[in-house]
């Protein structure tokens, strides 16, 4: 092609006269340089293409050889379960000294619901136990699907007194009739507040009836539960739980015998599972207001061995607790709402109360004891927006019938407390809360009422897996 052009140019040059030859020569030179340019461009495009091909080839080789060692070949990091850590700390200020508060009681109802306690050689430190700073817990949560049939969830409660397995349970995901079976250790679905972890509570502490009837860890037992959603037009479900029933605030499973004479059993260890719980709950919506209500019932043998306590005694009998709950939540926009939550409980206990002699090798007295105690809490929380909430709670135990050998002990029945709180939540993962408690339900050993004023500044932080919000 190039040669052809040049030859034809030469031919025309030969045919042309001298003056034209000069200009033709210039034209030839011009064409020559243009041709060279084109040639260079072609070459450079060719090499570029090659380099692209080489690169692609390299990349495909690299992706083929991605696991470069046997370690990465067997890496299972993509099966990592969801992990979260919640740390809760508080600053507490009270009008009653720490040394005194652990000895206060709700007469005939509960003993030592505040402060740290020595029990079986272990220190039990409830939430906000001490004046000043408290590290309440570091809660490690791990959960994931096991396979196509089961989910597994565990919560480890680290505190200064050690590690508790707060929850470790499996849940079925594929049973017929949408039946949900749970097994392991878990927070019971009894009532409203019981199944919630502390960091989703609206107040820093549990209501008086919870602290009094269940102690500082709610009903948190080893066992199994089954729940099924009912075929009603509104959401409702029924559940049944069989639990070991070791909670010594209302139930308990130890055989009752004098501390220093373990052979002399007056009440055997009950067969386990000892605690049976049933509940039915339902919810309906009225526009932007949701209402959730339910009734729960717990029944168990009671074996409460408090011979190591200040007021040494043991109780063997039966405990039944009924709970009625009501929650309403009205939404004004995406973040602002007004929420009412209340629970009423009745605890009925019947059995024999034993008092040990001074040598603790025999029981010096035994009385027929029945207790019938009613109480409730009612709380109102208003969320201004995503960040700020205020709330108030009223607590009461208004019926406190303790009858020993047919004689009413005339225990105080005007036991109440109230609380106010202010929450600041700068993000989904941090909470700062200021709470004031006034508790009029506490009495000292001499039987005189001790009014407690308490300020709790709670700091709660969560990292890791995103929490999903329940109602």
């Amino acid at each position: 092609m190039k040669k052809g052009i040049i030859l034809s140019l030469i031919a025309t040059a030969l045919l042309a006269d001298g003056s034209e030859v000069e200009s033709l020569k210039k034209q030839i030179e011009l064409l020559q340089t243009q041709l060279n340019n084109v040639k260079e461009k072609l070459v450079s495009i060719d090499t570029k293409n090659d380099s692209v091909k080489v690169l692609e080839h390299k990349e495909s080789l690299e992706s083929l050889n991605a696991p470069s060692s046997y370690k990465s070949a067997f890496s299972q990091s993509s099966f990592m379960p969801d992990i979260s850590l919640v740390v809760d700390a508080s600053y507490v200020s009270r009008n009653i000294k720490d040394s005194a508060i652990a000895h206060l009681e709700v007469p005939g109802v509960a003993h030592g619901i505040y402060g740290s306690h020595e029990h079986n050689g272990m220190t039990h430190t409830p939430m906000n136990a001490n004046s000043g700073f408290n590290l309440n817990y570091a809660e490690l949560g791990i959960n994931s699907s096991v396979d196509n049939l089961f989910d597994l969830s565990a919560t480890f409660h680290f505190s200064n007194s050690g590690v508790d397995i707060e929850e470790a349970f499996f849940t079925t995901t594929s049973l017929p009739y949408d039946l949900r079976v749970k097994g392991g250790k878990f927070l019971s679905d009894f009532g409203r507040l019981n199944s919630q972890h502390q960091h989703v509570w609206d107040f820093s502490d549990a209501p008086l009836i919870y602290k009094s009837f269940f102690g500082n860890h709610n009903i948190n037992e080893i066992g199994a539960s089954a729940q099924v959603i009912l075929p009603t037009s509104f959401y409702s479900f029924v559940g049944f739980e069989a639990l070991q029933g070791d909670n010594t605030s209302s139930f308990g499973t130890s055989a009752i015998a004098p501390t220093n004479n373990a052979e002399d059993i007056v009440a055997n260890k009950p067969s386990q599972p000892n605690l049976l719980i049933g509940y039915v709950k339902g919810s309906v919506d009225f526009g932007d207001t949701s209402l959730l209500t339910g009734i729960s019932y717990a029944t168990a043998k009671a074996r409460m061995d408090h011979q190591g306590d200040e007021n040494a005694h043991a109780f063997a009998g039966q405990t039944n607790i009924t709970d009625i709950e009501l929650t309403t939540k009205t939404y004004f926009d995406s973040y602002s709402y007004l929420m009412f939550q209340g629970e009423w409980m009745r605890r009925e206990m019947q059995g024999i109360q034993y008092a040990p002699n001074s040598a603790q090798d025999a029981f010096s007295s035994s009385v027929d004891l029945t207790k019938s105690q009613d109480g409730y809490y009612a709380q109102l929380v208003y969320a201004f927006n995503k960040e700020y909430k205020v709330g108030a709670r009223y607590d009461s135990i208004y019926k406190n019938d303790v009858i020993a050998n047919g004689v009413n002990q005339n225990k105080d029945s005007n036991l109440d407390a109230y609380s106010f709180k202010f929450d600041y939540k700068p993000s989904e993962f941090a909470l700062l809360r200021l709470q004031y408690n006034r508790n009029n339900a506490l009495f000292n050993e001499e039987g005189s009422r001790q009014n407690l004023d308490e300020i709790i500044f709670e700091m709660n932080f969560a990292i890791g897996a995103h929490p999903a919000h329940n109602f």
Binding site: D151, L179, R180, I229, L230, P231, Y331, Y335, K386, H469
Partner: protein, 284 residues
């Protein structure tokens, strides 16, 4: 008593296949393909923040009654839907589950994630529905899903898809043309809710009112933004219908920018109406 239960059973059992979706826009898309062959139930009604849908107990019942579940994905539902699914314990949705974000290339995917940068979405911006060019891909994947869920009507769904894609093409042509006039407009958004939409139409998001995703602005943040809105000559301050208006109105009062409110979802409207509403707001 027995009659009561029989009545209850009757109320609760329905015969049509029930497809449950997380947001109203998905309901609209499913209904465009399925017409009246399927029952479609939406969990969020679309008025409120899609990140914080209230996990009302009544929604557990809706999830329990689902034969199939379609979600937006990209972690938009992470704060509310997992709790409902757990409670509902519905094994049907294990098998019939569709996450729409899988067929869209999410924009703004962070290279590394830290909560120090706010409540970030690690997979990228999940508000892809606001780019109308994503709709055909979503409709196609929904059609595939419905065809496998309800095989006897699969041809019906495919025919509806063909028809819808044609209609959408026409709609998009007109829409793109109208939007082309808004090219190079400058806006401030509350949250990066409409980033995909603005990027599609070359509308520049100069800043967000939230200093970080999910973090409410302080007075200082808002003052800083006033300066920026003035210097960049921002035309609109864009809110979603559920966003708090205080900071936006303050900025409006101190600048030439105007507050406009775009829909948070296709609440009581079709997707076409949702995009038209967005257009008309931007032409204010």
């Amino acid at each position: 008593m027995r009659i009561f239960f029989i009545v209850l059973l009757f109320i609760s059992s329905s015969f049509a296949t029930n497809v449950v979706v997380s947001y109203p826009y998905i309901k609209d898309l499913v209904e465009k393909i399925a017409k009246d062959k399927l029952e479609v139930t939406t969990l969020s009604d679309g008025r409120f923040d899609p990140h914080f849908v209230v996990a009302k107990p009544s929604l557990i019942l809706k999830v329990k009654r689902a034969d199939a579940l379609i979600i937006n994905g990209g972690q938009l539902e992470i704060g509310w839907l997992p709790a409902l699914i757990k409670r509902a314990s519905n094994r049907k949705i294990n098998e019939h589950f569709l996450e729409l974000s899988r067929v869209v290339k999410l924009s703004e995917k962070p290279v590394s994630v830290s909560r120090a940068d706010g409540d970030v979405h690690p997979d990228g911006n999940p508000h892809f529905i606001f780019d109308p060019h994503n709709v055909p891909a979503l409709a196609k994947t929904i059609t595939q899903f419905l065809a496998s869920l309800d095989e006897k009507n699969s041809q019906f769904y495919k025919n509806n898809l063909e028809q819808f894609l044609q209609e959408w093409k026409t709609f998009l042509n007109g829409y793109d043309h109208k939007m082309s006039k808004l090219k190079n407009l400058k806006v401030v958004q509350f949250h990066k809710m409409y980033s995909d939409y603005f990027r599609r139409y070359n509308i520049q998001t100069v800043a967000t009112i939230e200093p970080l995703p999910g973090v409410s602005p302080s007075a200082k943040d808002t003052f800083k933004l006033v300066k920026k809105v003035n210097s960049e000559k921002v035309k609109f301050i864009v809110l979603s219908s559920f966003n708090p208006k205080k900071s936006a109105l303050f900025i409006e009062s101190k600048t030439d920018a105007k507050v406009i409110t775009l829909p948070a979802d296709a609440y009581e409207m079709s997707l076409e109406q949702m995009y038209d509403r967005m257009l008309s707001e931007l032409n204010k």
